[in-house]
Symmetry: D3
Subunit: 132 residues, 6 copies
């Protein structure tokens, strides 16, 4: 039901295949999910987005699983069904336990609630919270 057709590996041009190959090499045992097949209509955007994900989601000051929690939180708040499913699956693949998921869920629910309360009340930011 995408707005464009999905480009399979065998129908992809060389630029797209190079990205597909790198995705498969990076995510051992993985597959090319629909997002990339839809994005492949724009090989430049495909390559740039994949490079960005590879750079940003790599281990660093935050570990990859923590990054998936953050990704899920954003995707839920933005109402992105696909992203919520794909990053929940990614978090599980990176070792998220049921207990961690239960707490992630509770924090997301709580944050939505207090976001709603604060915005209704239009609370002004305390001076103590300001950095500059």
């Amino acid at each position: 039901m995408a707005t464009v057709s999905l480009i399979e590996y065998e129908d992809a041009n060389d630029a797209v295949r190079a990205v597909y190959d790198d995705i498969l090499a990076t995510r051992k045992g993985g597959f090319i999910n629909n997002f990339w097949k839809a994005l492949a209509h724009n090989p430049e955007l495909l390559a740039r987005t994949w490079q960005q994900i590879k750079a940003v989601m790599a281990p660093g000051a935050l570990d990859p699983l923590t990054k998936e929690f953050i990704y899920i939180a954003v995707s839920v708040a933005n109402g992105c069904e696909y992203c919520t499913h794909s990053h929940t699956a990614a978090a599980r693949a990176k070792g998220m336990s049921p207990e961690q998921y239960a707490e992630l869920l509770a924090v997301i629910g709580l944050a939505h609630q207090t976001n709603g309360l604060v915005t209704t009340l239009q609370v002004a930011v305390d001076d103590a919270f300001k950095a500059d």
Copy 2:
């Protein structure tokens, strides 16, 4: 600029003071921030929300700092200025390093971008991502 006045400690009734006291005792060296002073018009909601935050944000399968990252991510995506400021301050108080903040920022930005791309393309969820 809140839609209600802020209730200071000295003007609070006993039910509100009990919550304020518990906030101060739990957050050593802290203060009552504006959110609670606005919520205090509804002592029951104040008490319930505080109890919920205490329960959900406590150490568990996820550590408190990770929970703040998730909270910030939701607050940003919901466009809640107050919540973004207060939970960024909370994350710093819990030890967030500049390097961690830099990566948090990059993940939030990236997630917003791919949320936007996926929703534009209306990509269907891969079967492999479905849990049931």
Copy 3:
């Protein structure tokens, strides 16, 4: 801080003044608030929006105060600071009691929370909830 200047009554052309006059006549004791003064750069959009508000917010199967509650709920969820303030003021002008506001706040907070929980869990709609 609007993206356009605000057009005051004395600087308005006849088409804009006609709308301003009708706003003042409809909202006895009222004033022209900033929204209209910004919208006045587009007299046609100004007139159409005002006509729509007059028609939709009039007493009908739902009373005007209930309509303000709904308006506030949408405005909060959309993160519209101006709309939240102006419709909270409008609800008060139409008789909203502190007890009603306290419950409105609690419902909005709760709805945000369960929205967040449901979207995280990607719950499928029960057949029993479908109308067609």
Copy 4:
């Protein structure tokens, strides 16, 4: 298509069954809808969320049907498909007439429009709308 399996009554533990029983007793003639079956993986969050809904949605200064209107408005603006369906069904079960639904729809549409106009124009809040 939820991110977790749905826990049916016969597979539920005692803590979950206690909540399910209370839902069925409170909503005479009702059933356990999918939201609760997904949430049941976290019995504590299940119990807390149900207690909160029972408390907040009970008759008070606002009647239960008005609370459903507010709930629908939030759910629509947050783009929550499940919540929109379930609370529209709940509103109907509580007596919402087609005429009321028609007006609810019109108010939600109007509020979205003026939210969009105001945010585009970045209109500053009038002093007269400020409570403090």
Copy 5:
């Protein structure tokens, strides 16, 4: 899966048929899409919305295709699946090329990203950007 039944032409009353006829006459070779069939339960809202679309989407200072790009951008950011599909189809019907779609997609993705970055950082508006 709409919350109301869809009203087909043969079941529509005269007021609804008049709008349907005008839609068919305006969009040569077109059809009555589901949105109108659901909205037809409220003939007044149906007529007003159609009149508004006809007026706003007509050629003017912006050409109709540019207006569809803007419509898609809003619909994506609001997470409206139906609107994203219907206005992408409309843009194609008005001549959107694959190259234009590729760039539209890239701009929408980029805007989401910088929106997320700016909101995380809570950047204050530069004086130079203010109009008043």
Copy 6:
């Protein structure tokens, strides 16, 4: 009121200055706006974001002004005050006329309204709108 301090040119390291210089060279007569000064705490993200903006917003199948309209539309729907101001200023700098702005505003308002109506009604996507 940003969550980080703003890094001025004279305090910037070489990597940041290189981006600042390129921004000033690209936007003749321009200045370094606050977004970049806040992002400069992460020189890599600063450079990547600037490169992305330069590539995406350049003339192509869509002209730069049309791209600004799309950017504004996304920013409004996401409730990003800074982005709405900065891209409205950018559109004006690229020649947006008052008449174009008036129509942009009307389309954004309309799209929000029908997004709200469609989501309330949960209208199913017509088969004719589907690309695959």
